[in-house]
Symmetry: D2
Amino acid sequence: MKLNFKNDYNTVGDKRILEELIKYSDERNIGYGEDIHSAELNKIVNKILGLNTDTYVLAGGTVTNIVALNQILKYPYEAVITGENSHINIHETGAIEATGHKIILTPLKDGKIDISKIRDTYNLYVDNHMVMPKALYLSNANELGLTYTLSELKEISKICKELNLYFFIDGARLPIALVSEGYSLKDIASVCDMFYIGGTKNGLPYGELLIIINDELKTNFKYLLKNKLGMLAKGYVGAIMFKKYLEDDYYLTLANNSLLMSNIIRDKLDKYLIYKNKTNQIYIKLNKADALKLTEYVDFEIWENNDKYQVIRLVTAFNTTEKEVSDLINVFKNLNLI
Amino acid sequence: MKLNFKNDYNTVGDKRILEELIKYSDERNIGYGEDIHSAELNKIVNKILGLNTDTYVLAGGTVTNIVALNQILKYPYEAVITGENSHINIHETGAIEATGHKIILTPLKDGKIDISKIRDTYNLYVDNHMVMPKALYLSNANELGLTYTLSELKEISKICKELNLYFFIDGARLPIALVSEGYSLKDIASVCDMFYIGGTKNGLPYGELLIIINDELKTNFKYLLKNKLGMLAKGYVGAIMFKKYLEDDYYLTLANNSLLMSNIIRDKLDKYLIYKNKTNQIYIKLNKADALKLTEYVDFEIWENNDKYQVIRLVTAFNTTEKEVSDLINVFKNLNLI
Amino acid sequence: MKLNFKNDYNTVGDKRILEELIKYSDERNIGYGEDIHSAELNKIVNKILGLNTDTYVLAGGTVTNIVALNQILKYPYEAVITGENSHINIHETGAIEATGHKIILTPLKDGKIDISKIRDTYNLYVDNHMVMPKALYLSNANELGLTYTLSELKEISKICKELNLYFFIDGARLPIALVSEGYSLKDIASVCDMFYIGGTKNGLPYGELLIIINDELKTNFKYLLKNKLGMLAKGYVGAIMFKKYLEDDYYLTLANNSLLMSNIIRDKLDKYLIYKNKTNQIYIKLNKADALKLTEYVDFEIWENNDKYQVIRLVTAFNTTEKEVSDLINVFKNLNLI
Amino acid sequence: MKLNFKNDYNTVGDKRILEELIKYSDERNIGYGEDIHSAELNKIVNKILGLNTDTYVLAGGTVTNIVALNQILKYPYEAVITGENSHINIHETGAIEATGHKIILTPLKDGKIDISKIRDTYNLYVDNHMVMPKALYLSNANELGLTYTLSELKEISKICKELNLYFFIDGARLPIALVSEGYSLKDIASVCDMFYIGGTKNGLPYGELLIIINDELKTNFKYLLKNKLGMLAKGYVGAIMFKKYLEDDYYLTLANNSLLMSNIIRDKLDKYLIYKNKTNQIYIKLNKADALKLTEYVDFEIWENNDKYQVIRLVTAFNTTEKEVSDLINVFKNLNLI
C-alpha cells in the first residue's frame, strides 16, 4: 500500500477522542448547543483565555469562515481584506461571495500578507462606488504552512484597530502554529476579534471551535449560525470532543506529533524545501521525472505542475508514525533523491 | 433526574455505529468524499434501489435541504412550493431565502400538504412579475409526525411531472416513515427526484444521506456542495457510518424501536392525542395545570401554549428503553392523568 | 382605438414635468446625486416635513422597496412583516428573497393589514430557529386601491415602536392616498421610519422619492443604493422633476385629477364595485359575458377570472380626460351594463 | 462658472431626444416593455444587426451589467473573468458579489485585458474547491478610454468559444468606441453573446440598450430583469428614446462630437497624455501644483494623487462645444501649461 502524506485530515480521528463519544453515548442531552457540555466547554475556554468569550463548535473550516465573516460583515457592501492565496479566496468555491461579500486582495510577501501594505490597500477604498473594507482575514498556519510571529500578529492587530477592521483568524491549523511558534491561545485571543481552533486537521472526526472575543460580534450569533447552515443538532457531540481535546493541552500533544514528524522529514529533504517553515506542511520542488517516480509510492498533493518540475506538498498528521516517516525517507533514498 | 422525551437527537448515537469509527480510526483515506467508503456506500445504495444514483453524506438536515434545493433551483426567481408548517418555512431561520429563493405556500389538510390544491397553487403563478415554481418540498415523516401513504406520494409525483416541478423529499425522519407505513427506500426513490435518509434523528452522531435520482440534478453537485457549506473534509467518516446503518437494514431496526416505544405511549395516552399518527412523535393536549405538573418530571417540547392548555410533543428515540417508557407512564399515572 | 384604463403609468408623463427637463438640458451637473438640484430637493422636502431627512430619487417602485428594506434589514435572518397581497410578496418576482430576506405574512382584513393581528404574528417568532421580524411594510394606497386612515397608521406606528419594528411605507401611490384621505406628507412622515412618494404612477416618466426619517437608517445609504442597483448616474434629472412635482403641491393636483375622474366612474358603476375605496383604482365584478364584451372597447387588468365572472380593474391617471371617462361610461351604457 | 469636463453624463440629455418624449406624451401605452415602441425598437436593432436578437432598455450601466451577468451565471459557483480595472470589479460597490458570484481577475496589458493570458487564467480553475469560470466581461471603451480593435475582439471571441465562456461586452461607452475604431454594431454583435449600447453617457437622460445575441441566454429574461430590479414600468419611454437614438445613426453623430472635441484637446495636451487612446476620455499627468491651479477653473476627476503629481481625467460629451474646448485650452495657456 502507498504511503499517505496527502493531508492532515486523512484518518477518522484520535482514538482517545472517539472513545469519549462512546463513554457518553447513553446520556440524553439538549440539542443545538444548549447542553451542559457546551456550557462547560465555554467555561474551559474562558478559563484558558482569562476572557468572557462565546464559543461554538462547527463542522468544518469553510462553514466556520463563512459564518464568522457574515457575523462581522452586515451590509453586502462590506468587504473582507485578505491575501491572494487565502483559503476563502481560492479554496472555498466562492462561498463568501455566495453570501454577498467581496474579497479585497492585499499584497503578499513570501507567502504571507505583507503587513506594510495593509494600510495602502485599505486606502484605495474611498467612496460609495467601491466596497467598504470591514474585516481582515488570515489563516495561521496558512495554506503554505507558514505562520505569523506574535509580533507580526500584534502589528496587524494594531493596524486593524486603527482602520476599524475586525480581525478574524482562521485557525484550521492553529494548533500546529502554536507548537511551532511557541505562543499560546491567550496570545492569539489578545490580538483578534474572533478566531477558531481547528479540530478536523488535528485529530477530530470533524469540528472547529469558534471563539468570539469582541462583544460587538456576539449578538444573535445563533440566528446567523442556523441561517448560514452551521448549527448542529447534536451540539454536545462537538463539545464532548473539544473538552477532551483541550484537557491537559491534548490538542498541543497531537500537534506536536505532526511537528516532530515533519521536522524529521524536513531535515532529510532540506535541499528540496521551498519554504523555510516549521509546521506540518512541507513543500518541496522535484524535477518532473522524480516527482512521477515518487507518486508510485506516496500519495501527496501537487501544488504546481509543469514540463520541468513539480512543487508537491507532504503533510504529517497528529498520528503520523515514525515508521511512516522512515518509510517515506527510504522511498526518497531508494529513488536516489537523497 | 428528569425523563427526556424532548426529541430523537438527544444522545451521541448508537454504539454499534460509533464502534465502527474506532474500527477504522487508523486507516488513511482520501478527503472530500473521494474515498473508497463513499464509493462503496454509493454501490450499496444503488443495489438497494436498483438505480444509478449519486450519493452524498451531509452533516445535518438544514444544510441538506438548502444544498438540495439550490441544486434544483438555479435562477433566483425559481421558487419551491411547500406547506406552511414545513421545516424550510418555519424552522430554518430563513436559510432558503438567504440563498435567494422564495417559498410558495400551498394549503394543508390535517397537517399535510393538501394534494388536491397543488395544481391551484401552481396556477396562481402566471407571469414574470411573480416567481416561477420549480420544485415541491415535503418532509416524510413531517414535523407533526405525519406520514404520506405510498399512493399519496405517487399522486404528488404525478402532479409534479405534469407541472414540471422537481419533487424533493426531506427524509430527516424517513426511517420512521418507512417502518410506520411499510414501504421501502425503493418506493421512495420511485416517486421523487431527490431525497435523503436521515441519520441524526435515528442513531448517528450526525449525518444525512442525500440521494440524487434524476440525472439532470447530478451535474456539478460538488461545486454547489462546497459553495453552500455542505462539503465535509472527512467524507469517509459519514460513509463508514452509513454503510453500517444500511447493513442488514440496521436503520430500520433502530427506527422500529422508536416506533414500538411510541406505540406503547400512544396506547396509554390515547385520550390526549392530537394526531392519529403512527410515528415516534406524539402530540398531546393537556390542560395548563397538568402540563405544568408534568414538566417537573419530563423534558418535552411545547408546541402551543395558552392560558387554558398546552399542546406538547413527546418523542421516542432509537434507544428509548422500556424502562423510560414505563417511567413516563407512571408519571402520568401518579399525576392522575391516566 | 380602444380606451385604456389599464393602469396609471400608461403615458410618458406630464408635459410640465417634461418641459422642465428641456429647460435644464444644457446645464452641466455633478453625477450620482451630489448635484445642487438634489440638495435643493432635500431642502424642499425638509421644509415641507419640518424634519431633517435624507432624500433619494430612485427609478421605480420595486428597486425602491428592495433598497429601503435592505437598509433596514441587515443580517439575513432579519425579516419583514407584511400582508399576503402586498407588492413585495406577490408582484416583485421574489426580489426581496433574492436579497436574502424572508417575508412574514400577517393576516389581512378587508384587503388591508389587520392591525389587531400584528402583535400575534410577531409573537410567533420566538427563537433562533426562526427568522427575526425587524420591519413592517405596507403600501398606501395598496394594490387594491385601499388606503389606511391616519388613525390606523398611528396605531400601526405605535405597535411597531413597541415591537422594535421599523415601519416602512411603500408610497408608489401615496399621492392618491393623500388626496383621498385628506392627510399630508407631514402626517405620513410622523408615523414611519422611511417612506417614498411615487412619481411613476402620478405623471413622471420614472422616479420615486425615498425619504429617510429615522437617523439610524441614514448611515452609508449610498453604498447600499449602488450595491443594490438603485443609484442613477444622472441623479439631477430625478431631482429636477421632483422639485417641479412638489412645487405648489403639483403632485396633489395631478393626483386630484385621477381621483375626480375615478369618482365619476365609481358613481356610475356603483352596483358593480367590489371595494368601497376612494382612489384611482376601481375594482368591479362583471359576469363573464359582459366582461368579454367590454374587452373589445376598453383595455383593463383582469384580477380574477373564472367561468362565471371576472373581477376587473379600471384605473384613472393624472391625465385621464373627462372625454375618456364619458367614453367609458358610454361603452357601459351601450352594452346595457348601466 | 467653472468649466466642467468631469464626465460624459453631466447634462440631462440631448434636446432632440427629450423632445421626442414630449411628442409622445399623450399616447397611452402598455407597461413593462410589452408596448409597440419596444417591439419596433427590437425590429430596428434586428435590421441593423441582421440577427434575431432580444432587446431590453435598462436604466443604467451597473444594473445592466448585473442583470446580464446573472442571466449568464446560474449557480453561485459560476464566476466571471475580467481585468482588475473593470467597472464590475472596482466601481459597482460589490454589486456582482452581492448577487453571489465571484470575479476572477485576469492580467492586464497596457490597461486592457491581456488576451494571451486568458487561457492561463481559465486553466487555474481545476476542481470543485474553486469557482468555475463561465463568462468573460470587458468594457469597450473601458474605464481608461481604451478600445479593443476588431481583431482583438475576434481573438477574445474565439478563446471564449474554445473555453465555453460566454462573452459579454459592457457598452456603456460603446458609441465612442465605434466612432473611434471604425467598426460597427454588426461587428460587435458578431463577436459576443450579449452586449449593450450605452445611452446615459452619450446624450440620453438614462438608458442602456441590452442586446441578447445567443439564444441560450434569452430564456425567461424578464423574470430575472424584475427579480434583479431592472424592469421599468414605463418601458416605452426608453424605447421611444432609443428609436430616435438609433435613427440615422444619431448615436454615432453624438459620439462623434465627443470624439472631435477630445481630439482637439488631446492635440494640445499631447505632452501630458498618459494613454495614446482616441476616445472622449483624456488622461493627463500634471505636477501637483499645476493640477491644483487647474482645479480653480475646471471640474475634472482625479485618478491618482500623490505628493508630486496628479493623474487627472478630462472627458468630453455629446454636447461639448468648441467654445468650452477653446476655453479649456485657454486655461492651460494662461497657466503656462502649454
